[in-house]
C-alpha cells in the first residue's frame, strides 16, 4: 500500500478497517453478466421501432381530439338536458290552465249552440277552408293578372285552334322516299359535281395582263373600222348654221333638192331672187348646185 502514506496524517480514519463494508446478494455477479446482456438486447429491440402509427396521425390528432370532445359534450347535454323550447316552463302553467278549461267544456252538459249551428257548420268550414287557401295563395305570392280567369277559357280555345292549325300543316305530304333521295340529289349536284370539276387544272385566262391589252386593242380596232365604214357609206348631212333656210333645208336630202330644182325652178330666176332678197347663203354651194343644174339641163 505505497499510496496510503496520507493515512498516517488521519489516525481516526486509519483505524477503520479497509474492508469493503457493502455486500451483494449471493451469486449476484454471476447473474449481472446475463442481466447486462439481456438489457443490451432489450435496448436494441427498443431502437428497432416495432410500433408505427398511420401517416399524418400526429398531425391530425389535435383536430380529432377536439372533435371527440365536442361530440362528447353534445352527447352529455342530450343525456342530461333533454332540451325544451324557449320559455316552455314560463308558458307551461298557462297552457295547462287552458287545457283544463277546454276539457271542462267538453265534459260539460247542457251547453247550447246557436240554432242550426251544426247544419251550417259544414258549409262554414268549407268557406273557411276556401278563404284560408285563397289567403295562403296570396301570402305565398302566387298572384295572377286581373281578369285572368275570365279570359282563360277564351285563351285556351285560341291556343287549341292555333295548335290544330299548326298540326294541319304537318299534313302536307311529299312523294314516297322524297327525303331519302333529297340528300343524295343535293350531294350529286353539289359535292360530287365539284369533285369531278376539280379533277382538271383550272387556269384563269384573265390572269394574264397581255390578254387584257390584246382584247382591248381588238375591240378598239373593230369599233374604229365600223365607224370608218359608216362614214364612207353614209356621209353626214352638211350642217348649215348661218340661216333659217339652211336649217330647214339641212333636213332635206341633196337628191330631193336636185329633183325639185330640176322640175320646178327656173335657174336664172332663182339666181335673181336670191340676189335680190340679199338672203344669206353659201355662195360656193349655191353656185356649184346651179352649175350642176345647168349642165344637166
Amino acid at each position: 500500500m505505497g499510496h496510503r502514506e496520507w493515512l498516517d496524517e488521519y489516525p481516526a480514519l486509519k483505524q477503520v478497517a479497509e474492508k469493503q463494508p457493502f455486500t451483494v446478494p449471493p451469486g449476484y455477479f454471476n447473474e449481472l453478466e446475463n442481466k447486462i446482456t439481456s438489457a443490451i438486447k432489450l435496448e436494441e429491440l427498443k431502437s428497432e421501432k416495432g410500433f408505427i402509427v398511420p401517416k399524418n396521425y400526429f398531425d391530425e390528432l389535435n383536430s380529432n381530439i377536439q372533435s371527440r370532445i365536442k361530440i362528447e359534450e353534445f352527447v352529455n347535454n342530450k343525456a342530461t338536458g333533454h332540451a325544451v323550447p324557449g320559455n316552455y316552463f314560463d308558458d307551461l302553467s298557462g297552457n295547462i290552465e287552458s287545457r283544463i278549461t277546454i276539457d271542462g267544456f267538453d265534459a260539460g252538459k247542457g251547453l247550447t249552440v246557436p240554432e242550426n249551428y251544426f247544419d251550417e257548420l259544414s258549409s262554414n268550414i268549407q268557406s273557411r277552408i276556401s278563404i284560408e287557401e285563397f289567403v295562403n295563395n296570396e301570402a305565398a305570392g302566387h298572384a295572377v293578372p286581373a281578369d285572368y280567369f275570365e279570359n282563360l277559357e277564351q285563351q285556351i280555345s285560341a291556343r287549341i285552334f292555333v295548335e290544330e292549325t299548326l298540326n294541319q300543316e304537318e299534313e302536307f305530304t311529299v312523294p314516297a322516299g322524297y327525303f331519302e333521295n333529297l340528300n343524295k340529289a343535293i350531294l350529286d349536284k353539289t359535292v360530287k359535281q365539284d369533285k369531278v370539276e376539280r379533277r382538271g387544272i383550272v387556269r384563269k385566262m384573265f390572269a394574264y395582263n397581255a390578254f387584257k391589252y390584246a382584247a382591248a386593242a381588238c375591240l378598239a380596232l373593230v369599233m374604229g373600222t365600223g365607224i370608218l365604214i359608216s362614214q364612207i357609206t353614209n356621209p353626214p348631212a352638211p350642217t348649215h348654221e348661218n340661216s333659217f333656210l339652211h336649217k330647214q333645208l339641212s333636213t332635206v336630202s341633196t337628191g330631193d333638192i336636185q329633183t325639185y330644182l330640176q322640175d320646178d325652178v327656173d335657174p336664172s330666176e332663182t339666181q335673181h331672187i336670191v340676189i335680190d332678197e340679199d338672203a344669206p347663203a353659201n355662195d360656193a354651194n349655191l353656185n356649184s348646185a346651179l352649175q350642176s343644174i345647168a349642165t344637166n339641163n
Partner: protein, 184 residues
C-alpha cells in the same frame, strides 16, 4: 480468479464483428464488479446500483465502437458510471423535492436499513461520514480511499485538474476525520 485480459486485446476483438460478443463478455468479466462498487458507494442502495450498472454497460456497448484510444478503457467506463450516478442522484433529489443535504440523510437512512451491509460499527460510521460530503468530494474520496486510484486517473474520470482534486480530497479527509473524532 479469472484471467484478466488486456484492454487492447478486448478492444481489438470488439472491432471485429465476429468476436464482438466475446470481447464484450471479457470486458464484463473484467470490469463489472469494479463499476458496480464504484456505483454502489455513491448510491448506497443495491437495487439502485444494480439498475445503474446495467445502464452503464448498455451505454458502453453502444458507444464502444466510437471509443478513442487516447483514453484508458476503464477510466472511460468510470466516467460513464460517474455521470450516471450524478444524474441518478439529481433525479432523486428532484423527485423527492429535497435539498442535497436531505438526500444525504436519505442515503444515510438507506445505509441504516440496508440488509446488504456487512461492516462493523467503525465502517458504518465511516460511511456516515462520507455521506456528509458533497457528491464530488465523495467521488474523489471513494476512488482514492477504496480504489487507490492516482490523481491523474481520477482527473480523467471527473474532468477536474489534479491540483483541484488534491485540494478536494484533503478537504474531504479532514471532514471525515473530524466526523470520526466528534462522534462515537
Amino acid at each position: 480468479m479469472s484471467v484478466q485480459v488486456d484492454d487492447a486485446e478486448i478492444l481489438s476483438k470488439f472491432q471485429d464483428e465476429k468476436t464482438r460478443n466475446e470481447a464484450f463478455n471479457l470486458l464484463l468479466k473484467k470490469y463489472q464488479q469494479k463499476i458496480y462498487w464504484h456505483i454502489r458507494r455513491m448510491v448506497i442502495d443495491h437495487d439502485d446500483a444494480d439498475d445503474i450498472s446495467q445502464d452503464v454497460f448498455v451505454k458502453v456497448w453502444k458507444n464502444l465502437p466510437g471509443f478513442r484510444n487516447d483514453a484508458q478503457l476503464y477510466t472511460w467506463m468510470y466516467r460513464i458510471a460517474t455521470n450516471e450516478c450524478i444524474t441518478f442522484l439529481n433525479k432523486k433529489k428532484a423527485r423527492n423535492n429535497v435539498s442535497l443535504d436531505d438526500v444525504d440523510y436519505s442515503l444515510a437512512d438507506t445505509l441504516a436499513g440496508s440488509e446488504y451491509f456487512d461492516g462493523d460499527k467503525a465502517q458504518r460510521k465511516l460511511q456516515e461520514a462520507i455521506l456528509t460530503l458533497p457528491d464530488k468530494q465523495r467521488l474523489v474520496f471513494n476512488m482514492k480511499y477504496y480504489e487507490d486510484m492516482k490523481y491523474e486517473e481520477i482527473s480523467d474520470v471527473v474532468g477536474t485538474s489534479v491540483g483541484a482534486l488534491k485540494a478536494s480530497f484533503h478537504l474531504a479527509v479532514k471532514k471525515i476525520e473530524a466526523f470520526l473524532l466528534s462522534k462515537d
